[in-house]
Symmetry: D3
Subunit: 228 residues, 6 copies
């Protein structure tokens, strides 16, 4: 996995994540103010939007803007990314500011949602640093980091970081989001093929924990580097 | 939990599930034929749509038909129910037929998605029986049963079957869908509050397994009863 | 016709109307405040929304939320119910409050719109009582009651309360909404088959007047009963 | 009321109806073939679409195309016009052909829906003549004519042909559609103000019958005239 | 080209432009206030909406309101008309008022967009006169006039004022909008057929300049005439 | 201007165009078959879709997919790109195949539409080469190349290649699309500020011709290079 910070000139934080053939552009936009239902609370907000370019995949997909509505898969992933990133934020320390994380898949080769979460955290950290330099936040809004991996069962073996072709054959697909401290933020396991038992679940979780720890290390490394 | 079969006159299978203050009407509609992308495969299909009446909750919500689009939460739950029910179906034995499961929440008091899954299985079983009586299926499409519970952490204790008010206070909310044989179909745990560790996850899964087993028993009991 | 009050736990007024195989759930929601165009007038507002569950009928219909727009029939019936209920309301006595009447057809067997109006009146009466107990209204907003029947011509005979199968064969379909005092609020007669003459119209109106009087009696009876 | 035939060069039938300050352009378009649900039946179809230009009224209204959806009022009137015109058509004699009646209000001054019906009949008659000249129809599809008037109660007097300002003050508004032979096709009476009794209803119907007879005469006159 | 002023009773300015078989109704609506993004600037705004009635053309087109979205061509022409008309307006002299120009094509026979611009200018001039009579504007908002023609290449000859059938055969289509003083406001040339060279472009521009000068004269003549 | 070919792994042709701070990703997708209205003609089709990522610009813009409709500017630019690229294609030689050009602006700093056209040509050329290698086309579909520049007036001087900040101040903005042979495909000049005279138009066209010739050279150079 390669993490390139500041890929965009305008965004307060931006990261191009590359992971196998998958490339996701994560942009963090800071807006002062919060959605209407949160006004006057003194609390901030973090939200995310996920989308895929029409030719990110092997066959061209219609644009959701042209069809005039967002599909269920897009909705579901956008919500997952938003929830995951909110897990590392102290709303009070953020103050009444919002950060919007746009995760656009430029090329897809499996694991786009977990790559998006992992990259979005770095973009969020840069955006928070940008805010703190301008003294926009009453405190330090980042209480931990988050990273995500995809694990699955191929044949009867648990496997980490499924690339696209493997994903298709996987009988079970599990996305796991963990904090830098090793706690769970999201566990989403789905068996469209054969249901799985507790032992297999434990195997998948072990694999995921190791993968997330490695990604946490890569995130820290990327954030420690001087940026251009 | 109360399961009332044949609540509707027209549907091939229908169930009113009542669970605390929650009431979900599950209707299974049989259609011969499958969606375009599956034609000629010899395989069947099962899908689900979830919705909530505007005054199911304490304050009235706008209708999604009036707003002109389906919200992310509705999409996400519809997809979860569909995936869960497909886990107990042998598409080949179903033949090129579709079953659509409409889960409409008449009254909401927490746990609507897990009540919907649990009820939808019974409606599906009735619809499959209806089809088999008419010799529409080449085999027996039901390979297992599915049931679902919601578990969460209140304070620092794992709790089963969160009612609405508890749901709000829950730091973690986990939906678990299991087969009648005790395997996992879906595990969806989300920590919007504090992330949880592996021990807590194990506690939640133990609780869920017990809950699902009890619901599996209730489903079997309901299906064994003679219907009017 | 059976009228079950307080079918829902959350709504200020709610009624399940059952009439042949038709079952309509009517929920009255009280909101303080009125639509923007009526603000500052000192007058209240009453409106209605009608919808049908996808499997209310013999063949499953697509959800209007999924199609992304409301059909002409739904619009037309929602407007009819709203107008009918407004006929029994003194806006000044209601004060700047709104009552929204949600009429959701759980099962359809003909006459859903007239069942909806008849049930919605009882839900409205309960909601008004709820408001008056909380002293939200400057006066008594209910100046009369309303009830509705469907009449039609089968062969060449006028018939009351057409059930669904008869409806299909009816050459003329007329919906009549009347006050408890026997005056007309709405008269909507349509001849998709053979046009009808004045004598036939008179016969239909006579029949409707009798039907509405009977429903008015049932509404009063339901409202007189102690509720759980 | 002025009826100008052939106002458009391209349409198979077209009429500009002027009635007080109201101007409605009615275009009848012939299409060979019928909607999917009617194919193979040997029967034709007639449908209508009603719309209003943004500056037809005193204050500019938003375009429904810009808002992205059709309002309830537009839906309701389009359906009324379609039903009314279908009352004078023998589908079998029309054969599997469709006529679409577009009624666009260029200027509104009350009574737009009744003017639209009255004008659309003449456009339909011209379109049918066009088809018969080309021998597209197996028989004569027009079994009668239809015309429509609006009547209402001002103060306590029934009044014919309400212009816009009167319309606003009217306590009751009734649209009546009748055949050339004096039978009823549609009776739509609405009391948003005070409900009305049977005597008043009879008075309104008498007035409407006289008005429709006069319009029937004007339609026949217009159709008898040689066209440019 | 015929320009009929005051074709509508309600609009502050209105013109029916007839040009060959093309008929466009241009209505100018005055609204005090400006869009949100311009509030408090002291500057006015002018915008336009273009649309075509379904049977304006030889074959009936679907309504954009029914399809639920505006097509690319409609968007493009609406924007062109708005930009063209804004070229003759001094926003400061207009004050914080808006003029909306609705250009509805009643019948189309080529050149609808250029006819719309030419007519809209006259409607705008009448609306401005209406405002000045009421002393709504701080100054004289009209700094020049605008007119537009369509030119193209048929075979290899430049041609003015393409009617519909010629338009279809044209290898190049160019719309030119000019001020009364002979300067360019818009030059839009498109070669869907063979690309054109500089000499041909010059020939088209010469032709366009002559055409616009003639239309400027007709606009002045129309505005000089006393209106009913 | 930098042109990077084969930026995407899946698309038949793909180019990342960088030009000042502007970055546009152009993907050419080949589909066998043509739109319905062109079936059986033996002719191919080329179309384009343009879009901007939400944080391409200095302030975040809402997604068109979330708003549920495509804006006028997006429609207009998509149509311009499509028309421009079709100018270099021989439909007969292409056979009944379609090429869709997706131009997604990753970062915007002025001139996005002209950068998109210039890059899309290179992506189209690669896609055509891909097709010819597979013998999908009956002939050579590329009859020329196309390139585009933006020119404008700053103060009173014509300027080439407006970057974003200059664009804002420009009184006139002109987009010119030319073939490799120096002929015009599109000339789109707009004066939202002061109208311009013929001499200025000539100055702008001279500047544009020089700019397009230079881009044509860069395109040829990029296409001559061996690709990875």
């Amino acid at each position: 996995m390669t993490i390139t910070r500041n890929w965009l000139a305008h965004a307060e934080g931006s990261v191009l994540v590359e992971f196998g053939g998958t490339r996701v552009l994560c942009a963090a936009s800071v807006e002062s103010g919060v959605p209407r239902w949160r006004k006057g609370s003194g609390l901030g907000w973090v939200t995310a939007e996920y989308a895929m370019l029409p030719r990110a995949t092997n066959t061209r997909g219609d644009r959701e803007s042209v069809r005039g509505k967002i599909g269920g898969r897009t909705h579901e992933i956008s919500r997952l990314i938003g929830r995951s990133l909110r897990a590392c934020v102290d709303y009070k320390a953020l103050g009444e500011n919002s950060v919007i994380l746009d995760c656009d898949v430029l090329q897809a080769d499996g694991g786009t949602r977990t790559a998006a979460i992992t990259g979005a955290y770095v973009a969020l950290a840069d955006a928070v640093a940008w805010m703190r330099k301008r003294k926009m936040c009453p405190g330090d809004p980042l209480v931990t980091s988050v990273a995500a991996v995809s694990v699955g069962i191929i044949g009867s073996d648990p496997m980490l970081d499924l690339c696209y072709t493997e994903d298709v054959k996987a009988e079970t697909d599990m996305n796991v989001v963990m904090t830098g401290g090793g706690d769970f933020v999201e566990v989403q396991g789905t068996a469209e093929g054969a249901p799985f038992d507790r032992a297999m679940l434990n195997g998948l979780l072990d694999l995921a924990a190791g993968g997330c720890a490695e990604l946490t290390r890569l995130q820290a490394e990327a954030l420690a580097a001087a940026t251009k």
